[in-house]
């Protein structure tokens, strides 16, 4: 896919250089971890160990992996409710994430948040928000605080093609550009807002253009290619950190699973899903580059897969073994005690 952008001036010409072996292997491992983690979460949901809503990220792994690779320590990340992979990308412990999914004491929110509401102040992950679009205003506020403190940090607010139609997104765009806040808006366009295809909900389906009337540069990126994502993210980061204000990255991506676990996904064909899966899978793509570039052998990658599976299994075991929160937890954390 060729990259599209709204403004030539802001697109600094960066020489396209291929990622090195270590970088590629890291992407491969990170994305595989997300995939296996989500598959395991789906499995635990099927066993009744995870309840309620559970939105899996399978298929979209290249987006968060590529963006995260361009950030530096201290930058903040916030997203909506399809959030498990974002937490792993921020370096949060798979055990704590999985245990939150099972609603146990060992979870990041001690079982009180669940799949959609997890946080780590230590890892600068600000949620995990269940109200579609809320993270855009909140993420703009994170960036406001960076601007206010003059600390050189920035915030990344991820949201989907569905959230892109919420009013508060545009209220936020307006203020972010008005005050030139260091915020990167990453639209994860996975083509469907729950069951509604983008073209059925959006009068302008090229979502990277949504910042035009605010003067925010936007760029459309192949969100299935982690290297393309990383390159675009670096540009956006340089823009925002350089005091030029917000930047919009529209990631064209795809989710293989339903919107949530109880979605039969009848609004698209099996063939459509299979086509993406067979020809555009982000993990297969990097695998191919690793093998063709002679960076790794099939056996080495298999061994890596085994390591990842072991970590995920360990997380699942922890999430099963961790006890339910103590009944006294019902009354804690309502307010900070003064």
């Amino acid at each position: 896919m060729t990259s599209k952008r709204t403004s030539k001036t802001t697109a600094a010409k960066s020489a396209v250089k291929a990622a090195g072996k270590d970088e590629l292997l890291q992407y491969y491992r990170d994305m595989l971890m997300m995939r296996r983690f989500e598959e395991k979460a789906g499995q635990l949901y099927g066993m009744g160990l995870i309840a309620g809503f559970c939105h899996l990220y399978i298929g979209q792994e290249a987006v968060v992996t590529g963006i995260q690779a361009a950030l530096e320590e201290g930058d903040q990340v916030i997203t909506g409710y399809r959030d498990h992979a974002h937490m792993l990308a921020c370096g949060m412990d798979p055990k704590g994430v999985m245990a939150e999914l099972t609603g146990r004491e060992g979870g990041y929110s001690r079982g009180k948040g669940g799949s959609m509401h997890m946080f780590s102040r230590e890892k600068q992950f600000y949620g995990g928000h269940g109200i579609v679009g809320a993270q855009v205003a909140l993420g703009t506020g994170l960036g406001f605080a960076d601007w206010y403190k003059g600390n050189g940090k920035l915030s990344v607010a991820y949201f989907g093609d569905g959230a892109a139609n919420q009013g508060q997104v545009y209220e936020s765009f307006n203020m972010a550009k008005l005050w030139n806040l260091p915020v990167i808006y990453v639209i994860e366009n996975n083509q469907y807002a729950m069951g509604t295809a983008v073209k059925r909900a959006s009068s302008e389906i090229e979502l990277y253009k949504r910042g035009i009337s605010f003067g925010i540069p936007g760029e459309q990126v192949d969100g299935m290619d982690v290297e393309a994502v990383k390159r675009a993210a670096e540009k956006a980061v340089a823009h925002a950190r350089g005091g030029n204000g917000p930047y919009i990255l529209e990631m064209k991506t795809y989710r293989y699973r339903g919107h949530s676990m109880s979605d039969p996904a009848k609004y698209r064909t099996r063939e459509e899903v299979d086509d993406i899966r067979s020809h555009h899978d982000p993990i297969d793509l990097i695998k191919k580059r690793l093998i063709e570039g002679k960076h790794a052998s099939e056996d080495e990658l298999k061994a890596l897969d085994k390591d990842v599976k072991a970590i995920v299994n360990e997380a699942a075991q922890f999430a099963k073994d961790s006890p339910e929160p103590d009944p006294s937890e019902l009354y804690t954390d309502v307010l900070v005690e003064v």
């Binding site: 099927g46 990041y108 946080f119 949620g127 605080a145 203020m175 676990m261 099963k320 954390d333 307010l335």
Partner: protein, 467 residues
């Protein structure tokens, strides 16, 4: 090792389903992601994908079987290199997840419903609530408008703490739509006194995000009527996140502005939101009456590590009251104030209604009825101790508020008093509130709709059987 494929739960409520169709047969090789079966749930027919890869050794449940319980084995996969034909079907034992065979956690004895248990008073332990600071003898009292007292509170806190900033519509260059932020821009500059576009939902969310990231925003709404556009962030983002994050994400923010009826501005600019916000755990809700309380409580709200909804009243901004001229006038949030002592009837009120209650008490005194007036000051936490103690003395109560009565502040207080001082009551609790209609514009109708001094006098006489 062979792998059991279990009947999956495909919706939050599914307990069993129909295995409508197998897309695989014994001997097939499956990869993770292959559709292996179709299952009918109570809501839809869903495709089931393989999670593991392997060779199908056995299909344990025939196509078309109804009532297949969630978590029962439906097929067996042989892993790479394993002989599929040698795989044994499992015994009928089905592992039930731990979370399903335990009864739901019962509430501990100390919790449960009703404020009597004390569990719902915003987590603030009543016993630990400080009283108002003593005002040293000889302290100079300075006559100050509520408007200036609020401004002084913000200015003092901004001088004290660089993370405190004010944002809202017309707060900076215009000097405040109601001049509450007058002078702040000059002293603190545009970084800390931020004029926003007319975008309540957006700037409330931005403020909450800034609070998550270490600042202490004071978000001014031109009136709380407009905060209705922002109430999602006040409740879903500000009030709930601490709990949902297991205590990690504190949100030290103040949402402030005028609340309730102004004068002849019609239904959309006259709404009293006291009971709305006071309903929400995770918020503190403060509604002061006089200038000293406005200053002391706003300073406390800005220092509080929690989100505070600070309800002011346009019609008392210009009234002057004595404010003690002390170095750092901070009052505890959650403590009511007995503004007038009495023996025959308790009158509770907050915000502008306190003034009406005090006037009513004077009239009642002329008629030989001694009224005790309690200024609630804080609606969450609500100082039920002070109210109940008073009722135990007077045996009668009138709850006055400006907003609608249904599910209102007075309804809550009546419930508390009935639960905690039932045997002391000599009359049913009475409520005074706005008429149950949108506020009309016409002068005479507006007057008829809003509660006033006379209504309080009448209600107090009624509970005293002094008609």
């Amino acid at each position: 090792m062979s792998i059991e494929i279990l009947m999956p739960a495909l919706s939050p409520t599914m307990e069993e389903g129909t295995l409508a169709k197998w897309n695989i047969k014994e001997g097939d090789t499956v990869e993770s992601g292959d559709v292996i079966a179709e299952i009918e749930t109570d809501k839809a027919t869903m495709e089931v994908e393989a999670v593991e890869e392997g060779v199908v050794a056995k299909l344990l449940v025939a196509e078309g079987t109804e009532g297949v319980k969630v978590n029962s084995p439906i097929a067996i996969l042989a892993e790479d290199g394993e002989d599929a034909s040698a795989v044994e079907a499992p015994s009928a034992k089905v592992e039930t997840p731990a979370s399903n065979d335990e009864t739901p956690v019962s509430a501990p004895a100390s919790g449960g419903s009703g404020s009597a248990a004390g569990g719902d008073e915003g987590g603030a332990s009543k016993a630990s609530l400080a009283s108002d600071p003593e005002i040293p003898e000889g302290t100079k009292m300075v006559s100050t408008t509520v408007r200036d007292a609020l401004r002084d509170a913000m200015a003092e806190e901004m001088r004290r703490d660089d993370t405190v900033f004010v944002m809202g519509e017309e707060v900076a260059e215009y000097q405040g739509a109601y001049k509450v932020t007058r002078g702040l821009l000059d002293e603190f500059g545009p970084r800390r006194v931020v004029d926003t576009p007319i975008t309540e939902h957006g700037f409330a969310g931005l403020g909450v995000g800034a609070a998550f990231n270490g600042l202490r925003p004071v978000v001014e709404f031109m009136t709380f009527n407009f905060a209705m556009q922002a109430i999602d962030h006040i409740i879903n983002s500000a009030a709930k996140t601490l709990y949902m994050s297991g205590g990690q994400m504190g949100c030290p923010i103040v949402f402030r502005g005028p609340n309730g009826a102004a004068s002849r501005v019609g239904a959309q600019h006259s709404h009293d939101y006291s009971s709305w916000y006071a309903n929400v755990p995770g918020l503190k809700v403060v509604a002061p009456y006089d200038a000293a309380d406005a200053k002391g409580l706003l300073k406390a709200a800005i220092r509080d590590p929690n989100p505070v909804v600070f309800l002011e009243h346009e019609l008392i901004y210009g009234e002057s009251f004595d404010v003690p001229d002390v170095e750092d006038w901070v009052l505890p949030i959650g403590k009511a104030k007995v503004r007038r002592e009495g023996t025959d009837v308790t009158i509770t009120a907050h915000s502008r209604m306190v003034g009406f209650a005090l006037k009513a008490a004077e009239i009642l005194a002329e008629e030989g009825i001694s009224a005790e007036v309690i200024d609630l000051r804080s609606l969450r936490p609500l100082d039920t101790d002070t109210i109940v103690q008073s009722v135990k003395k007077t045996n009668r109560i009138v709850c006055a508020e400006e907003g609608w009565g249904r599910m209102g502040v007075g309804a809550e207080i009546a419930a508390v008093v009935t639960a905690e001082a039932f045997d002391y009551l000599d009359a049913p609790p009475a409520r005074v509130h706005q008429e149950d209609v949108p506020l009309p514009y016409a002068g005479n109708l507006e007057k008829l709709s809003l509660p006033g001094v006379d209504d309080i006098v009448k209600a107090a006489k009624a509970v005293c059987y002094a008609e």
